[in-house]
């Protein structure tokens, strides 16, 4: 049964945290990324040489730093959820602000990386590897921005005292989405930057 969330009215014990539809959404997102990752792996197996050569030219340091940045930010939203469960709205908002800030760091590092690639004349048509590299990273990049928008909405509401220990689905929803964005990078980074 797809989209059970649409009809679900009460949060049942054992159900995942946050609103169920965000899980539907996360599932759809992971499916889309999953298909792209599968396609990447499929294509790689046909052009191993090309992929190995091109991968060497990627900036692995910036990718690794970004992975650390996102993992740290994920920890921050975990703390935010823990805070709101005890009713500390301000603390919750601050943790989320920290996560958003790290998201910003990710964006800046990524933009520097893109800039270097584009000025080297690399485009979608350079070769299949770069087609995947650019598509996947830009696609993920847009998700980071969307995640930051969601977190900002949650943060503003938390600051206004809009969440309580009993009712903080919004925080969990935002946190779940942010974890998904993080998770995708944790798969994407080794897959595209490292594994040869």
């Amino acid at each position: 049964m797809p989209t059970p969330s649409i009809t679900l009215h009460n949060h049942k014990p054992g159900a995942p945290p946050g609103d169920l539809v965000i899980w539907l959404f996360i599932f759809a997102e992971l499916l889309a990324f999953g298909i792209f990752f599968g396609a990447y792996a499929f294509s790689r197996s046909h052009h191993v040489e090309l992929y190995n050569q091109s991968q060497l030219l990627l900036n692995r340091e910036s990718g690794a730093i970004n992975a650390l940045v996102l993992i740290t930010s994920s920890y921050f939203v975990v703390r935010a959820v823990a805070a709101i469960k005890q009713g500390f709205s301000r603390e919750c908002a601050n943790w989320i602000a920290g996560a958003i800030g790290l998201g910003g760091v990710f964006i800046v590092i990524k933009l520097l990386e893109f800039n270097a690639k584009f000025s080297a004349g690399i485009s979608l048509s350079t070769n299949t590897f770069y087609m995947f590299y650019l598509s996947l990273t830009v696609f993920h990049f847009m998700h980071v921005i969307l995640g930051m928008v969601i977190l900002t909405a949650v943060m503003l509401k938390a600051r206004r005292g809009g969440y309580t220990p009993e009712d903080h689905t919004g925080v969990e929803t935002g946190a779940s989405y942010w974890h998904m964005v993080d998770l995708v990078w944790i798969i994407l980074f080794p897959l595209v930057y490292v594994i040869r």
């Binding site: 759809a28 979608l124 598509s135």
Partner: protein, 458 residues
Amino acid sequence: MQYQSQKVAMPYFIAAIGLFTGQILFGLIMGLQYVMGDFLFPAIPFNVARMVHTNLLIVWLLFGFMGAAYYMIPEETESELFSPKLALLMFWIFLVAGALTIVGYLLVPYAGLAQMTFNDLWPTMGREFLEQPLPTKLGIVVVALAFLFNISMTILKGRKTSIALVLLMGLWGLAVFFLFSFYNPSNLVLDKYFWWWTVHLWVEGVWELILGSLLAFVLIKVTGVDREIIEKWLYIIVAMTLITGIIGTGHHYYWIGTPEYWQWFGSVFSALEPIPFFMMTVFAFNMVNRRRREHPNKAATLWALGTGVMAFLGAGVWGFLHTLAPVNFYTHGTQITAAHGHMAFYGAYVMVVLTIISYAMPMMRGRAANSEKAQVMEMWAFWLMTVSIVFITLFLTAAGILQVWLQRVSETPLGFMATQDQVTLFYWLREISGVIFLIGLIVYIASFFVEGETKEAA
């Protein structure tokens, strides 16, 4: 029927069914030309018959969409139409323009028609589905604008529901993307690239918004399920439609000179395109199972459920069948495409228009539903047409698989015509299924004239 002005939908629906009949007749002519090549030659060459067949389809679906909008919008907005007179005027303009165009196709050689209609000044003709002469294209724009003005003004002054909003977006999108039909560069690759912005973004984009809102409207009426729930489903379905369908355009950009990354983008996103159709099926059945009332119009419910199933099969499953680039490399431009086209158009758009007609026509004739007898007949028509389109699709798929095998995959490929000779049997079977479809259509039309006991509309 709660509002007087809803009644302008009636002529639109009647015209739609009339043109539908014409479409099927020309389909049968073409089907016969596939096996008896010189049938009706030179009076009606194949390309003319095809033009009439496809253009009639587009025009009658547009009539159906417009009629549906005129019927739904007053009820959704809880106010009379902004101008029923304008709606009626546009009906006649559109009908006359459409009829003249078809007559032009049939009586004048196409090159002559192009000459007569100033195609040299602004060449737009002679591209698949967009064969209409320039004056007709301009007429479509005028009619569409007047129609959109009428609908938008009605929505502005009344209640704004999600169904009305999605419908309005679909209709505006339809008009906007039609404008790409006026762009015809001399570079064939550019021509084809933006030709799809009309064709693909219509049928796998904005038309699906119209489809979704029509279906949602009828489901609210026949099931009595809470509007909040139905509209939520509607938003999620149309969201998935556009999220997958917009980049899904890429599945047309594999072999027409466009960069090769489209093979990846097109494959990935169009592989996801069945999802919204699957959700639509689940949606229709789910809502009917949770119905809060027993609506006397069983036929409309059947059409609504049928739309969900057949749209999923035709657009979803048959689309997926040949959408991945490595598969499409072999199937592109074969009878497989024709098979998909037939079931997708019938399942999604023909059926949804017949759904709304089935629901609205009795209302406009002053009753909640047709008599038992008439409904039984309509349901017979449903099954006859639906089963025969399934068989048409199966036979064309068989012909397509053979064609791909003999002409494209084989070590010693046969030429096009030699291949066609090998699959004649399937073309005959397709033609027979087509005749049964026509019988179904005749039964359908006859069902409107069956009398019997009916209840007053509420």
